[in-house]
């Protein structure tokens, strides 16, 4: 059941670089699961989290095939979070910083995220019950 409350989360880390991305996605999952709306401001390297071209790979060290390895991709995790939001009747608004996208050539995303700006982050934060910033270190 929707709570009517909204949290805004800013994230900075690129995928596959730190535990911050997984932590952020866990928090987003928990918030959606509890019926809260979630705004995400993906800043700097975090715009790569939703890149459509991400592909699982085999693991030559382990000797596993692509099928056996079942390597996760952040774009699939986030696609699943969009579905969870839909199922729960709440909103997941994923705002990829447009300038960060441009400087990385990272504009081809899965369905769901939108292009935005720091101004959108400010407005989302102002309209939210809480804001959480998870910066890169």
């Amino acid at each position: 059941m929707a709570s009517g409350k909204t949290i805004t989360i800013a994230i900075m880390d690129a995928p596959y670089e730190s535990a911050n991305s997984t932590t952020a996605l866990r928090i987003i999952h928990a918030a959606l699961q509890q019926g809260h709306n979630v705004n995400v401001f993906a800043y700097e390297g975090a715009v790569n989290l939703t890149m459509k071209a991400q592909q699982p790979h085999a693991n030559p060290v382990k000797g596993t095939t692509v099928e056996q390895e079942q390597h996760p991709t952040t774009k699939d995790w986030i696609a699943s979070l969009f579905k969870l939001a839909k199922d729960k009747g709440v909103k997941l608004d994923w705002n990829n910083c447009g300038l960060c996208v441009d400087e990385r050539g990272a504009g081809d995303w899965i369905e769901g995220p939108r292009r935005g700006s720091p101004k959108d982050f400010l407005e989302a934060s102002s309209a939210s019950d809480a804001t959480l910033v998870i910066p890169t270190k």
Binding site: P15, Y16, E17, S18, A19, S21, T22, L25, R26, H29, L32, N59, P60, V61, E69, Q70, H71, P72, T74, D76, W77, I78, A79, S80, L81, F82, K83, L84, D87
Partner: protein, 127 residues
């Protein structure tokens, strides 16, 4: 080929997303490629040697993680492959890790002996 010492300081860097540690993986791949390589765990990375780690059960919406990282087992495989694996003794003690907590096959080394270990390796890569 010069001997390489890979020093891992930062722990659990995207280990969930990667299903392993990227530098342990790289060490393994370099060993497979013929490198004469050793591994030193220091600071928070000493926790990699703790046996019985379990990172399973992650779920996002309907997407569940099929294979969780098994860092301790990856270390054992590295050691079995002939990669000397060292661990800074004081860093483990400071974190309350006793010998009983750690996998076998890891060589403890005190901080005062690090210069000698480093001196044995013409290439020292600190990650």
């Amino acid at each position: 080929m010069p001997k390489i010492l890979n020093i891992v300081e930062t722990a659990y860097r995207a280990t969930i997303e990667e299903q392993d540690d990227t530098i342990l993986w790289l060490t393994h791949a370099l060993k497979n490629a013929g490198a004469d390589i050793s591994l030193l765990l220091r600071a928070n990375a000493v926790n990699y040697a703790v046996k019985g780690q379990d990172a399973s059960g992650l779920v996002f919406g309907e997407a569940s993680m099929a294979h969780s990282p098994e860092i301790d087992k990856d270390l054992e495989k590295l050691a079995a492959k002939g990669v000397p694996v060292y661990l800074v003794e004081e860093d483990a003690k400071e974190r309350g890790l006793s010998d009983a907590d750690l996998i076998s096959g890891v060589k403890k080394i005190s901080r005062r002996d690090l210069p000698e270990l480093i001196d044995q390796h013409p290439q020292v890569w600190h990650w």
